[in-house]
Symmetry: C2
Subunit: 95 residues, 2 copies
DNA sequence: TTGACATGCAAGTATCTGCTTGCCTATTGT
DNA sequence: ACAATAGGCAAGCAGATACTTGCATGTCAA
């Protein structure tokens, strides 16, 4: 069920979607499309929709249909597995 | 110069390489190949070498040629940018 | 009910990616 | 010097991936 989180992050548009949702979770698909367009992304609604499917597969996003809208919620918890896999030595970095 | 860190992580074999290096940094390519084979990976030397090029592009690995050996060092610092981009609420996770 | 709106679904296409194959270079030991 | 070792380089191929296009579905307002 948890389709590869890493592959989900591999696409710049998908990362922009996560950024956008972190800024404002619970947007509708339409709203998200507008905002991404404003930010310079040229993706069509269908493209975004497909990206969302990938993100949802990875558990990074939760799609909740309500009436004729699909609300999109961010869920960063799948990222924990990445954060825990490779430790970044915070002490040995500088100086 | 910093080729996409995210794309570098997108491949399972490359992640296994990072795991292996975290376990023991400074291996030679040959050594790494043997160890990956032992762990069930079927990649050839050339394949591994190409993966290393991608990882090096992303800065996750440093290749240091010495004599006829190429030593491979892990560098996890590029991962920080990921860890800082999306915050995982550590408090709201359990209970 | 009817039309506009928000979205889903699916096939086709072009590019990217990982891998193989085959050969070349450089270093070390005898 | 010569052979074995460790690795590099590059072209070709097959599968994956992102995107487009066209149409279908479902919901809300008038």
């Amino acid at each position: 069920m948890v389709g590869d989180v890493y592959k989900a992050l591999a696409d710049p548009t998908r990362r922009a979607i996560l950024d956008e949702l972190q800024d404002r979770s619970g947007q509708t698909l339409f709203e998200l499309c507008v905002r991404l367009t404003d930010k310079g992304f040229t993706s069509t609604r269908q493209a975004i929709s497909q990206h969302l499917a990938v993100l949802a597969e990875a558990g990074l996003v939760v799609l909740r249909r309500q009436g004729r809208y699909t609300f999109i919620d961010l869920d960063t918890s799948p990222l924990q597995q990445i954060y825990q896999r490779w430790r970044v030595g915070p002490c040995e970095s500088d100086t």
